[in-house]
Amino acid sequence: MSVGEWEALINVVLLGLLLVVTFGIIRLRNLFGVVMLAGIYSLLMAMVFTLLDAVDVAFTEAAVGAGVSTILSLGTLALIDSRREKIPFRFQFTPMLVALVTGAVLLWGMQDMPAVGTADAPNQVHVAPYYIERTPVEIDVPNIVTAVLASYRGFDTLGEVTVIFTAGIGVMMLLSSMPVIGARRRRRRNGDDQENDT
């Protein structure tokens, strides 16, 4: 088999695993397990990205999806002291309808899309060749992704830094003041007691 065929085969196996993990996330009620599976989902995704030649993206997805997001989720679980979803998995009509309609539109829309991995797809012949050809001349760094990220589309990246800055000050704003723990929770508990009395 050629290199391309091997790539395609491993691709299929990894994507299959991805589906299995996703199914697990839907069904599992143990939140700790859900967070762990979400980390595994990100790692698998990173492997798929490596295979699809997106090494920078894979690096980031592994560091962020499997690293940062997992740490944050675990921190949240510790803070909210909740280990398990209250309601078991059950079929719900409206979300299922929305998901199915969205999926159907997408599958319908895919009919006319070029197959994955073809070299003459529209997005391989327009704009992208410019970056590949001109980067050595205009920017002269080996990593084309860096050239596009930092220079050709540098303003997007400035926006990205602004997004992460917003998240930073957002979390500061939401979590920096002293918590009013228990006050309302206690009140709720009293409310429940009153209900029991009547």
């Binding site: 391309g4 691709n11 994507l15 991805l18 589906l19 996703t22 199914f23 839907i26 939140l31 859900v34 967070v35 979400a38 990100s42 995704m45 699809l52 997106a54 993206v57 980031t60 997805e61 962020v64 999806g65 944050l72 989720s73 921190g75 949240t76 909210i80 979803e85 309601i87 409206t94 299922m96 998901a99 969205t102 997408l106 895919m110 899309m113 197959a115 994955v116 991995g117 073809t118 997005n123 391989q124 992208a128 080996p142 990593n143 084309i144 992704v145 596009v148 990220l149 997007d156 990205e160 997004v163 992460i164 917003t166 998240a167 979390v171 939401l174 979590l175 918590p179 009013v180 309302r184």
Partner: protein, 131 residues
Amino acid sequence: MMEWLGQFNYYVFAILMMAGIYVAMSRGNLVKKVVGLNIFQASVFLLYISSGKIWGGTAPILGDGLTQPISNPLPHVLILTAIVVGVATTSIGLALIVRIKEAYGTVEEDEIAEAEALYEEELIRAEEAEA
């Protein structure tokens, strides 16, 4: 050569996307909702990255003696940005969950609604007592 594969990646994207939407919309637990959103967002990364791949191609890093075609770097750049956006949204969402838990003592949607109704009653009672 690879016709049998066709748009397999895109089909997987569609399934993951549906799963993400379903989890984000149907589950009452707020943490699970955020995980659902993560699945949903990450599925879109798959769409972009798959579209940039050339089978048998190589990563967009230039070197000597490169003979293979180079996969499209632009989707990679876009998805790097999207990943950052995703983690930013997740962190704000989780911080909100922490605050909601502190305010209402629960992270289950229907219980929050009850607690909120209780809070409103209390407000009204407090105002009446004041008047």
